[in-house]
Symmetry: C2
């Protein structure tokens, strides 16, 4: 039996678009001879749908969309689709009104619906706000093959692996007692550095402990502040990887279950990344591309200071959207160094992006004059430094408003963590591209980027960072940050 993993990139709330995506990949899977297609958790609405789930018309549209999808799918293919189901007894028994569900679609119908049993409510997860936990082991039979169904967190409670329980039950234990042939896990597991190694180690531990075959299907794509890395995979009972899908891209990969051997045959195994820098780069490019695209933008604008943060963001944007869709704006002040211009222009030339230079000296004088009476007798300080940053923020937003470019902000995680940034100034923007990347990582990604050719100009990598908001300013913060 051929089982196809549909590692798709849904857009939150775009029910027709996501259904179309599932339909197209199902047709491809059927053409490849697959009998069963796996899609990620909540694949019909995208994960996480958050408060869209509180909207009755959205739930109704999802239900209609699911029925329609069932009718349109290739008849020889069974498809697992992530959706929600109403908890019909909630009013009588207490409890949340929805189940986070997987529907088994076959021959034009919704054949079975499975409910997620373990509901994460920590960190980026908020599932208890919307969902009631399922109470039963989930499985179905297809052509005499018994398939156990788990949804994301359902496989994240192996007390032997974790050294503790996070939930009362462990669904894989229930399924192994029932004697299924293999277990599918339909996930939307967000990316963080090293997450894939952790997932593979964890599921390997469960595969070996419970002697189960596991196919793990993960969502891919950027959704608001979350990036999903995909990298779906399958494990045999020895905990060996028999198949791995690529990271940060949509893909369809087929795993074959040998009905004689009751085991998976070896399939294609995408290689791991050579370095964390490479992996993070791909995550950032996907995150930016999807945020811009899913919000309905095509072009971006950002300030180029000649510093390393804006240089990296410009490089990410260029890789994500193409050089013709990135506009860099240089906004020197009287405190700006010579190299702030030359380095920014060198970067723009390396990337092939357009630039504009806007001098802010006169606007600085304008604010000084306007505030002179009120500020009489006070010293130049943070208020004046912030004005410069805010002039730049205003100019960038004006360009954003005028031409419909999304403004990217360029602050890194180290600056954000200690507040070394200006509210309504350099923090302006629709997406803070590297706000979760510490300064030391910014450097190492840039060095990785330069591994063959110079992308980030050498001087940007070697000069001391400075906000250049007053004469001779150097970012003292830097010396602390190297320990991050």
């Amino acid at each position: 039996m051929k089982i196809a993993i549909a590692q798709i990139n849904p857009t939150i709330g775009d029910l027709p678009g996501n259904a179309q995506k599932i339909l197209e990949i199902a047709q491809k899977a059927a053409a490849e001879g697959a009998r069963l297609l796996l899609t990620p958790e909540l694949s019909l609405c995208g994960y996480p749908p958050r408060d869209l789930l509180l909207n009755p018309s959205f739930l109704q549209a999802m239900d209609i969309g699911l029925q329609q999808l069932a009718r349109n799918l290739p008849p020889a293919l069974a498809v697992l689709v992530g959706t929600v189901e109403e908890n019909l007894t909630a009013h009588n028994t207490g409890g949340k009104s929805l189940f986070n569900s997987i529907a088994l679609l076959e021959r034009g119908k919704v054949k079975q619906v499975f409910h997620k049993r373990l509901l994460p409510t920590y960190d980026v997860f908020d599932e208890h706000r919307y969902f009631e936990a399922g109470s039963e082991a989930n499985y179905f039979t297809l052509d005499n093959v018994h398939v156990g169904v788990t949804i994301c967190e359902d496989l994240w409670n192996d007390e032997e692996f974790w050294g503790k329980r996070s939930y009362t039950t462990n669904p894989i234990a229930d399924l192994s007692i029932l004697g299924v042939d293999f277990i599918v896990n339909l996930s939307a597991s967000p990316y963080s550095v090293g997450k894939q190694k952790f997932r593979e180690a964890m599921l390997k531990s469960s595969a070996v402990r419970f002697q189960q075959l596991i196919i793990y299907t993960n969502q891919v794509g950027g959704n608001d502040d979350l990036i999903f890395d995909g990298r779906s995979f399958a494990l045999n009972r020895q905990g060996e990887i028999v198949c791995r899908v690529c990271g940060f891209e949509q893909d369809l990969v087929v795993v074959e279950f040998d009905e004689e051997q009751r085991d998976f045959r070896s399939g294609s195994i995408a290689p791991e990344y050579e370095s964390e820098d490479e992996e993070i780069w791909h995550a950032l490019v996907l995150g930016l591309r999807d945020y811009v695209r899913k919000c309905g933008f095509s072009k971006v604008v950002l300030g180029l200071s000649g510093g390393i943060d804006s240089s990296l963001v410009a490089a990410i944007a260029t890789a994500a959207l193409g050089k013709e869709n990135v506009l860099g704006v240089l906004m020197p002040s009287p405190y700006s160094s010579e190299h702030s211009i030359s380095d920014a222009l060198a970067l723009a030339e390396n990337l092939g992006i357009k630039t504009h230079i806007l001098q802010i000296g006169e606007l600085m004088q304008g604010y000084d004059k306007t505030l002179a009476e009120l500020f009489a007798g006070t010293e130049f300080g943070l208020a004046e430094e912030n004005i410069q940053s805010r002039i730049r923020g205003n100019l960038l937003m004006a360009i954003s408003n005028k031409f419909g470019h999304l403004l990217l902000s360029t602050g890194n995680k180290s600056e954000m963590a200690v507040g070394y940034c200006t509210l309504y100034g350099d923090m302006n923007g629709g997406l803070a591209v590297i706000a979760d990347v510490p300064k030391t990582r910014v450097y190492s990604i840039c060095r990785w980027l330069n591994r063959n050719d110079e992308v980030i100009p050498q001087n940007v990598l070697t000069k001391a960072p400075s906000a250049e908001l007053k004469p001779g300013q150097v970012d003292k913060i830097r010396y602390h940050l190297t320990t991050f």
Copy 2:
């Protein structure tokens, strides 16, 4: 037996300050002859503590603080204090690591600890992120009086009143079977319009249905985006109010339980507000005062446009902080009307607050000039309108940074709902004072404010609203908003 309701205003995370507040009110209660003192839910850390609960040193400090408080309290007084307790079996049984708890402190010791059973995880509540639900009915005996203990949501699941269940259990049903003499409910229930009527109707229904006496103790004060209104009260078995504490203020009120009659004696009953406008006014004044004070500020600055929104915010700030702590800044442009200045100055005179006038015409020209080349061939539009708003936002933030005044933003809920505002412009500020007040309500509160003397100048109430960002602009939005 005298039971004292301590309707206190804790500051989130200020453990020593909150303990001191409880200690002082306990000494007062003891002096009034009380045997039992009730404080609100999580009174030791303030509600909602949110992610402070993820910090182990914070939990340790809370535990030490509770022990210390127990030792310092008047010996003849039993005190119920809101705190958290560790779920010691969480690692073995699965589940969250903390209980939302009430500690019974008596004679220097923590005598008993009660766990909240129903954990709200909807709207502004997120308790499942942090807490495990308690599984047992909570009660204790004091001088042969049997007291049932419930924590906030524990009394919000009466399926007869609601017509449905939100949770499996109903704690008051368990307590009524156990035959307690009265039930205390220790709450942190946020304010919304009409909430008190709803609470009283709901608890009246439970009191009558289960034939129970109930004392409801609510937190008071503003905590970030939430306002708690207090208005604690007690009900007899007929569902009659026998005591009600005032709204939006700290207070200590004593309820007497007649041990012969096994009933409450009638006590002081604070009157209800005459109108919703009056009630909302008190909520907004408290919300602003606490936000400013708890964030460590004493003075505020805001832009005065001569419009009704900024006029109301200035009036609220003046009532909350005193006229000497409010600075109004007038920032006319060439598009500003004559009355924008005269109305703002008339308001400032009515309130007795200081003002400054900053002309923004030259700065507008400065931006036009800086962007001239880039914007060549484009028409005056939203980008230019927003620049004006952002110049004002920059000037106000410069004043905020220079003098340490908190900037108040003045947009109303109707504008926010439809996006009729400028990001990084008039949305700048530490607190959006009336962002949850629709435009029609802004008018009615202002008319209420003017019921005796003119506070808001008459012309502000009668002229057509306008953002005045281009010649002859009128807020068309207004005609839609009147139906909100």
